[in-house]
Structures are given as structure tokens and as C-alpha cells.
Symmetry: C2
Subunit: 201 residues, 2 copies
């Protein structure tokens, strides 16, 4: 038995979303059949608003509704520290810690040759345009193979542009055991990173 066309249409849209399989997609579509009309209309409108109202900050490429994002337009932030992240969600996670007061640079991805994503597909080269007055670059890409490779690429790019270690310090976020973790259950790579990253007390 086939689903009615308009139900099937919505099921297919839900299926395109990451982490939503055919069964969940069907459940979501049938759920929406029973909600009041205005709920579905609001949902539909929210989708359109997303594309109409959001834009990338012209400076750091974070997502916002203005030309300069909240961080970039905040003059009280340290202009000399630049934190490079993969995604806008990373900015939100870091901001939540309330410990970083510098500026961000959002790559919108990582170098991933297997997915055909090279440096040109990312907001990567224009980091060089932002290094005026910057004394530290923190590379906060994910501790994955692609994240590490991208961090190394950026470091090399900055050094080759003529900025020596005495002008701009380049650091990588710390790797090791997450707080609350159990050494007993930690994987070997994390554990050896934790040993390498040990600090004197």
C-alpha cells in the first residue's frame, strides 16, 4: 500500500535529514497530520526564515542575521586572539564555557580528501587577511584525523606567509581525558594523548 502523495512527500523530506531513517520519517509525518494547522504553518515559515534571514558574518563566517556577528561586533573582545573552529555549533559550545574572550574564525568544514573537500571549499585562505595585530591563533578543529590535518595545514599556511613563532603563537586545543572520564575505560589513543599533554603541578 502506498502512502498518500502529500504524506509521502513529507516523509521523503524528513528522510533527507541526518540521523532520521525511513521509520522515524514516517512517524514524524503522521504526527504532523494530527497537530493543528498553525503548528505546521509555523514550521513551514521557520524553514523559509532560516534561509531568508541568516547570513555568514563577513569577518569570521559565523552564522548570524547581521553583517557582523555578535562576537565580531563586540569591541570588548580581545582582537589579538583568533580561535579557528570547524562549525558555528563549535562557537556556541566554546562561548558557553565563558573562558574564551577572543575572536573566532569558522572554516565551515575540514579538509577531507575522501569527500572531495579541499582547502578551496573552506573559509581557510582568508585567515591570512585577519592576522594583522593577532598574536595567537588557537586551532580548535576536532581531534579527528581530518581535524588534525586541517590544523597542520593552517599552521603551515600561516608560517609560510611569513609569520614567525615570535610574532604569532599557534596552539592546538588540549587533548586528553574528558572531565569525569574513567582511565580504565579510556581508549589507547586518548590515553597516550593525555600522557603527552601532562602538566606540572
Amino acid at each position: 500500500m502506498k502512502l498518500p502523495r502529500s504524506v509521502q512527500g513529507l516523509v521523503e523530506q524528513f528522510e533527507k535529514l541526518p540521523g532520521i531513517g525511513p521509520k522515524s520519517a514516517q512517524r514524524l509525518a503522521f504526527y504532523l497530520i494530527h497537530v493543528p494547522d498553525y503548528v505546521v504553518e509555523d514550521f513551514s515559515q521557520a524553514l523559509l526564515n532560516l534561509k531568508r534571514n541568516t547570513r555568514l558574518c563577513t569577518q569570521c563566517h559565523n552564522i548570524d542575521e547581521a553583517e557582523l556577528c555578535l562576537v565580531c561586533s563586540d569591541a570588548t573582545r580581545e582582537q589579538s586572539v583568533l580561535c579557528v573552529v570547524e562549525n558555528p555549533l563549535d562557537v556556541i559550545a566554546l562561548e558557553r564555557t565563558n573562558t574564551f574572550k577572543g575572536l573566532y574564525h569558522v572554516l565551515h568544514g575540514v579538509i577531507a580528501p575522501l569527500d572531495n573537500i579541499g582547502p578551496e571549499q573552506l573559509y581557510l585562505r582568508d585567515i591570512l587577511d585577519r592576522l594583522d595585530g593577532v598574536t595567537e591563533v588557537i586551532l580548535a578543529t576536532n581531534p579527528t584525523m581530518e581535524g588534525e590535518a586541517t590544523a597542520l595545514y593552517i599552521e603551515k599556511m600561516i608560517r609560510e606567509a611569513g609569520y614567525g613563532p615570535e610574532e604569532i603563537a599557534i596552539s592546538r586545543i588540549g587533548h586528553g581525558l574528558p572531565v569525569g572520564a574513567d582511565i580504565e575505560y579510556a581508549d589507547g589513543v586518548t590515553l597516550s594523548r593525555a600522557l603527552e599533554g601532562r602538566r606540572n603541578l
Copy 2:
């Protein structure tokens, strides 16, 4: 740090859906920021189409785009057997088995006093209007407490309307071990139902 308003708006819409928590909702909204415009527009349109184009079959209350659903408008189906189910998804599951050739009646829920859902909130009383020429009613509500209670309620309703067992046979779908299950791991209630429902070979 707050999300841009239009992103937050979509996150809230996703959060309203069953089984989607705050983290998933955020991930879905940020995913959609990166897809081409037309994908989001199609999604938005599919939501509107759902409400505009679907309607309940006037006879069995299944969801379809026509006044009579595919099953009800199919004259080759046995008009004498009525299968009562909770939801349109149950119809799809049963149709997939290709074993049932009668008609359906979709309640759109079960009697659930704790959720303030009584018989009046369901398409329940109008089963009585469909009993002309019907010789068997199969009660295929879920094997949950509410499903069982609803099945008993319907049986009582039909009998009290004056239809005796010789006119209309009323049956409940079989309960027991699902095919492929392991007796060792079955819960006690299912196992005792499986014993009650044993069949001579």
C-alpha cells in the same frame, strides 16, 4: 551566547517533534543552513501540502487525498470483514502483509483516561453505522493496557447495539511471541499470552 533568531525559531519547531531533543534539533537546523535553498523550500512546501491535501476518508477515517480512501473505494475488498485499528500507520503495516482483504476502521487513538481521551474523542461510535452486512469485526488495537480496554469497549458497544455472536463474530488479533523471538528472553506477560493462545497442530 544566543542563537540567531531565525535559527532558534527552527530549532524550537524541531524540538516540538516527538523523539527529537534539543541537541538533535540544533543539529538539524544547522544542517539545513548548509543545504541549497531549494531543498529547504521543498521541505517548507511539503509541510503545507500535508495539511492542504490530506483528508480523512469519510468511511474508515484512514488518511488519503480523496473522499474515499484506496481501500474503501476498492470494490474487490471483502465488505463483510472490518478491522479496527488505532492509527493510519497500522493500516499500512497490515496492508504490507497482504493477508487481510477486508475493510478498515481507524480510531485515531485509544481510550486513555489519563490523557483525557474518552470514546467521544475517537472515531468509535460510528463503527455502529458500518455494521450492515458485516459478519466479522477484528479488533487490532495494540496489545497495551489502553488498546485492550478499547477493544473490550468496542466489543461491548457492538453487543449492546443488539448484534449477537451469531450475526457478527468479534475477534482480537493474536498475542504471543513474535516470529524469530527467543523464549528465553520473552517477558512473562507475552509468554503467558503465548500459552493461552496455543493452537492444536
